[in-house]
Symmetry: C2
Subunit: 300 residues, 2 copies
């Protein structure tokens, strides 16, 4: 089933102890789309500026990603992010960020995408996230991401959004900020009371936890010996998770758990190289193989 994603598309400059890459492809929707395309066909919606170097999206050539939802907006400039992991591989320091076109109006969801059943709203202003939902005829599963900025400045709108989605993905710091609870299980339970049927809290190198009404699921990260560039790990995780869910008929706890394990495994390929290099060097067979290895590495 087709999976729609809306989120950022940008140009990154990234520094890690393994080197530096200038002006490479980045953005939440890009990592998400590539990761999800291992599982299902993806519909990408996003906006870039007139300075957009068209060849950058060649990365999707031969992949099941429909980028016809990409708007190249004249008179605007593309989102740019410069991050450094030189101090800490687990947390990027933003050296420079130019929101550019991301600070303007949201991209439109094309009419031919309005029948999408599976939807991932990557992080953006919660009002825009809600607006995008209006364009969808019969969504079956809607999951959103968010960030500390909106929790602090747009809490009311975020709370409204939470009543309209099935699942929320956020990181540990954001979960604590949103709920005021330090304990992540308590934080997750509080999020559930705000509306979603499930919440996934990402803990970076420490894995993730998922809460549903009567189920709690914890998962460590894949034990990776070589981490070259963590950029896009969280988006790849979400992409792998949603990509797998879109191939399944139900969203039972068991299905979501398998999906989280797929997300974890896909993210482990992302971080093994700069930008999308890790994902591009990966096949679905390798993902399935590592998924089994992961299952094995934590079974007792």
């Amino acid at each position: 089933m087709s999976l729609l994603v809306t989120g950022s598309i940008g140009i990154d400059t990234v520094e890690t102890p393994f080197g530096k890459r200038d002006d490479v492809l980045g953005g939440s929707a890009v990592y998400f789309s590539y990761a999800a395309s291992f599982f299902t066909s993806v519909r990408l919606v996003g906006v870039v500026g007139e300075d957009w170097p068209k060849p950058l999206l060649d990365v999707f050539d031969g992949r099941d990603v429909d980028a016809s939802g990409l708007e190249v907006r004249q008179g605007s400039k593309t989102f740019r992010w410069h991050g450094s992991y030189l101090k800490d591989m687990n947390e990027a320091v933003t050296v420079e960020v130019d929101l550019n076109v991301l600070a303007e109006r949201a991209p439109r969801i094309p009419d031919h995408f309005s029948d999408s059943r599976y939807v991932f709203l990557a992080n953006t202003h919660p009002v825009l996230q809600q607006e995008m939902l209006c364009c969808l005829k019969q969504p079956k599963l809607i999951v959103a991401d968010t960030m500390n900025l909106w929790i602090q400045t747009e809490r009311n709108e975020l709370v409204k959004l939470l009543q309209k989605i099935h699942g929320l993905v956020l990181n540990d710091g954001e979960a604590r900020l949103l709920t005021g609870k330090k304990n992540l299980i308590q934080a997750a339970r509080d999020v559930l009371r705000l509306g979603p049927q499930f919440v996934v809290i990402k803990k970076g190198e420490h894995g993730c936890l998922m809460c549903m009404e009567e189920d709690t699921f914890v998962l460590p990260a894949f034990p990776a010996e070589r981490v070259v560039d963590p950029t896009g790990a969280g988006d790849s995780f979400a992409g792998g998770m949603m990509g797998y869910l879109a191939t399944q008929g139900s969203f039972s706890p068991a299905t979501i758990k398998r999906a989280l394990a797929f997300g974890t495994v896909v993210a482990s390929f992302t971080i093994a190289d700069f930008t999308l290099g890790g994902l591009r060097a990966t096949t679905r067979d390798q993902i399935d193989e590592r998924w089994l290895e992961f299952k094995q590495a934590m079974s007792f």
Copy 2:
């Protein structure tokens, strides 16, 4: 099979957001012994001062713990620790510590304990840890803990110890300090090259990982909604792990994995109350039940 433990026995004062407890029973060997006694008979070796309030060890009444290895040393004072978790439930701030008798010579292992097959050397000076090994006739499994102090000041002796033991348990910060590797899998592999057949890295609320020559195992912590006092969690973890191992004939990867899950579960009971309150309110049946629940909470 009998499990010998040597480690600290002391009097703690602990502050957490849930309250304060003054002059309560504490120490690594105490938590370890109680935790391990759910599984096997325990032989406790340690030393306290002449100020020792004898009733404190009544906690072991009715439990399978042989405390005849407890030396009450005249002219010395008992180890005391005052810790606070008011700032961060994941890391104790030491308000005050008086090593007292722990800064003197180690306790002797009584002759009637010298046939112990399973041994846990809780954290102390690595020269003392090696000396204690000499008293054992035919140990089958020796596991040690250590701390940053010895890694920094007694590295050579610690390296010698590592050649004499089967397993090492340490926390993430200590593993990084010992090996200079930030990545914990790499750090674990480096520890293995120093001698032990397996290494367990404790990550507090983030669980643990275990490495053997051809096996890597990762385990999240038990998803606990209520953490009252984390004191003794690591020692309870080790106690549960070693207690279970002492009941098993082999130390196959599968056995060690099950043992780590038992350690994780026992620790989750410890942190639910102050001092040994959590463990004292627990039965072996409850441990087995939660072990299954834990297995379920991470299976996919």
